[in-house]
């Protein structure tokens, strides 16, 4: 039985009513909404003649289906512009704050929550998107919900939840100089598997995690869902508070100090009991790239495609064979050197300023290989603006990258930004499922630096090896 963990403290502080022994009605502190799932949820609510209980704790943005075309215009989407119009109309009418293109605040929901200071330690945050676990980087309980649950949250500002068991994943050791948070979490998923944390509330711990800056923690927690976790969390600390201070929706002045004194009580007690503990050694790891169609198909960038024959579990073996057939790879083949067609730098996993800086550092003064189409899609308009002030856009454009408008884009293809059938893409997103980036698309997940190096080389390439290119 879990006691004294950060999860337990936050859960207990949000129980508005106990519905049954293990199901609670939890208060929702922030309901983040976007155009893909919310328009219909609000319609359902209104058909039932129910008001939105707390439009002031509901925050909207446009990210999934909005165009990312440079210089995009209204109604520039290949389909579903009605979702965008619908969300604008609904949020204006209902008094829901919307982060939109005209005010320069639009972006991917999991980028703008932190950026605006909405994602705070000790809060509950839900959104109709599975990568809502990203906000756990702040020591928040944050998880993705379905459309029906969204209607419930809109109507009551609460959600019914079965209390999940807790799992602490301790990362031991110091990653190598060319590994970032994306490499660390892909390595962890590769070691533990995509259902290792199924149904658990995960807390990431260890010196590696506490040494991460906030954007690295967001990347780490973003992929917690790819371990099957309900939530992924990191304890708040001075790095968290320094990030939040001065953000538009973060508390101000004396309120901030009061909040910090509250937040500093959140971390798990030294004698906290987790339902389960796991640890992963991340010492000296380098860049990690996926070879298959599941995030657990992750190996070192300089590794070779594994041989299914060496796998003892029949269903895992069958999965590996199917993945290699789909990905057009053979056992023993070196991953590095595999020719690619596309590069995508962006998404809620890696669309933040530090990600763009890491990619630009690799690209500076170099050219994208002639046969590669490479895109940078900043995670939000503020990220884009800051990157432009630093001149990163000019580095990307000079190298031959498309510098696009913010949105989810080619991570999920909901706006028509897709990889063509049979094309191979190195992507900084979080899912390499069959067809995820488009029917027949072949996706390799990687860090921004590895994606950038691969764009230059024209094949999957180690970021440190870019210097060796002519």
């Amino acid at each position: 039985m879990s006691t004294g963990t950060m999860f337990d403290k936050i859960w207990d502080a949000h129980v508005a009513a106990q519905v049954s022994a293990d199901i609670a009605l939890l208060h929702v502190d922030r309901h983040l909404v976007h155009e893909l799932t919310t328009v219909e949820a609000i319609r359902v609510l209104e058909r039932r003649d129910l008001p939105v209980r707390d439009p002031g704790l509901t925050f909207a943005t446009l990210d999934h289906v909005i165009s990312t075309q440079p210089g995009r215009s209204p109604d520039g989407e290949p389909w579903a512009s009605d979702m965008i119009d619908g969300l604008r109309e609904q949020t204006t009418r209902l008094g829901i704050d919307r982060f939109d293109t005209h005010d320069g605040r639009q972006g991917i929901v999991h980028v703008i929550g932190p950026e605006q200071g909405l994602s705070l330690p000790g809060t509950t945050i839900v959104c109709g998107d599975s990568h809502t676990c990203t906000h756990g980087a702040f020591g928040a309980l944050a998880w993705g919900i379905g459309s029906s649950e969204q209607v419930h949250v809109l109507a009551t500002q609460t959600i019914r939840q079965r209390r999940p068991p807790t799992l602490r994943i301790t990362l031991n050791g110091t990653p190598g100089p060319h590994a970032c948070a994306k490499d660390v979490i892909l390595h962890v998923i590769g070691k533990l598997g995509v259902s290792a944390a199924s149904g658990y509330a995960v807390e990431f711990a260890g010196d590696c995690v506490s040494g991460f800056d906030m954007e690295s923690r967001m990347t780490l927690c973003n992929l917690a869902i790819e371990l099957g976790a309900r939530v992924g969390m990191v304890a708040p600390d001075d790095i968290t508070y320094a990030y939040l201070r001065g953000r538009p929706y973060a508390p101000k002045g004396a309120d901030f100090d009061m909040a910090v004194s509250h937040w500093s009580l959140l971390p798990s007690a030294p004698d906290a009991q987790f339902d389960r503990e796991l640890s992963v050694d991340v010492s000296g790891i380098g860049p990690v790239v996926t070879w298959g169609t599941s995030p657990e198909h992750a190996i070192a960038c300089e590794g070779v495609v594994p041989d299914p024959a060496a796998e003892s579990d029949l269903s895992v073996r069958q999965g590996m064979v199917a993945a290699q057939t789909y990905m057009r790879l053979t056992p023993g083949q070196a991953l590095a050197g595999t020719p690619i067609d596309r590069v995508f730098i962006g998404s809620c996993a890696n669309g933040r300023l530090s990600d763009l800086r890491a990619a630009a550092a690799v690209i500076q003064g170099r050219r994208v290989a002639d046969h590669v189409r490479a895109w940078v899609v900043p995670g939000s308009m503020p990220v884009k603006k800051q990157a432009e002030q630093e001149g990163l856009d000019r580095i990307f454009i000079a190298a031959g990258f498309d510098w696009r408008e913010p949105g989810c884009s080619m991570c999920v293809g909901a706006n028509g930004d897709m990889v063509a059938p049979g094309e191979r893409c190195v992507s900084t997103s979080n899912r390499n499922f069959v067809g995820r980036q488009g029917p027949g698309a072949l996706t390799h997940l990687a860090s921004p630096a590895t994606a950038a190096a691969s764009a230059i080389a024209g094949h999957i390439h180690h970021p440190a090896a870019v210097l060796e290119l002519a």
Partner: protein, 205 residues
């Protein structure tokens, strides 16, 4: 929500781990279709070839499984995206029950919200059921009794938490139930607002 009543049908075996919700319904369908229209698009990447013709090697394109109301999966069924349209697609196709070793967490909750019964069984039990299922035998799932009965075969029992079981059996609506707790919710907010005022800076009274 519709009630879950005993369900008898052939059982389609989806013989792979980690069936993700992108596989169950593609993102393009979410942006263009409404609830009730997803049935033909359930599992489209497995059901149809690139030219749009049916791939007869996929179980749902074969008799008697076109009439399947029950799916038998393996581990981590419904992982990935939170899209509720994955459950709508199964529901629109006619699926009333999914049996698997484990489920993606959000998908599992979405099933409960739509009257679709997600049953967890051990890998060994699933392997047992897979044989009569593949042979096209009818099975009956009874949530009242918590049993799965194979036609001309054994009856297995399964576990299911009592609260969601009653909700599925009675077709209870969560929102109606939660609105009955309005006083508790408002009392909570008053207390919480006093101790964490910064959380409520933008809140509606």
């Amino acid at each position: 929500m519709k009630r879950f009543t005993p369900c008898s049908s052939p059982v389609a075996v989806i013989d792979r781990d980690n069936v993700d919700t992108d596989m169950i319904v593609r993102i393009e369908r979410m942006t263009t279709l409404k609830r009730g229209q997803f049935g033909p698009w359930a599992f489209e990447m497995l059901r149809y070839r690139a030219d749009g013709s049916e791939d007869e090697t996929f179980v749902l394109n074969r008799e008697p499984f076109r009439q399947a109301r029950i799916l038998l999966g393996r581990s981590n069924f419904g992982c990935g995206s939170s899209r509720e349209m994955a459950v709508w697609a199964l529901d629109d196709f006619g699926i009333r029950c999914v049996i698997a070793e484990s489920f993606g967490d959000i998908f599992y909750n979405n099933c409960l919200q739509n009257g679709v019964l997600p049953i967890r069984l051990s890998a060994a039990r699933i392997a047992e059921l897979a044989v009569p299922a593949a042979a096209g035998q009818t099975m009956t799932v009874d949530l009242e009794q918590r049993t799965i009965t194979v036609q001309d075969g054994p009856t297995l029992s399964f576990e299911f938490a009592e609260h969601p079981r009653q909700a599925l059996l009675q077709g209870l609506d969560e929102i109606d139930q939660s609105l009955l707790l309005r006083e508790d919710i408002e009392a909570f907010r008053l207390r919480d607002r006093a101790s964490r005022p910064w959380v409520y800076a933008t809140a509606t009274p």
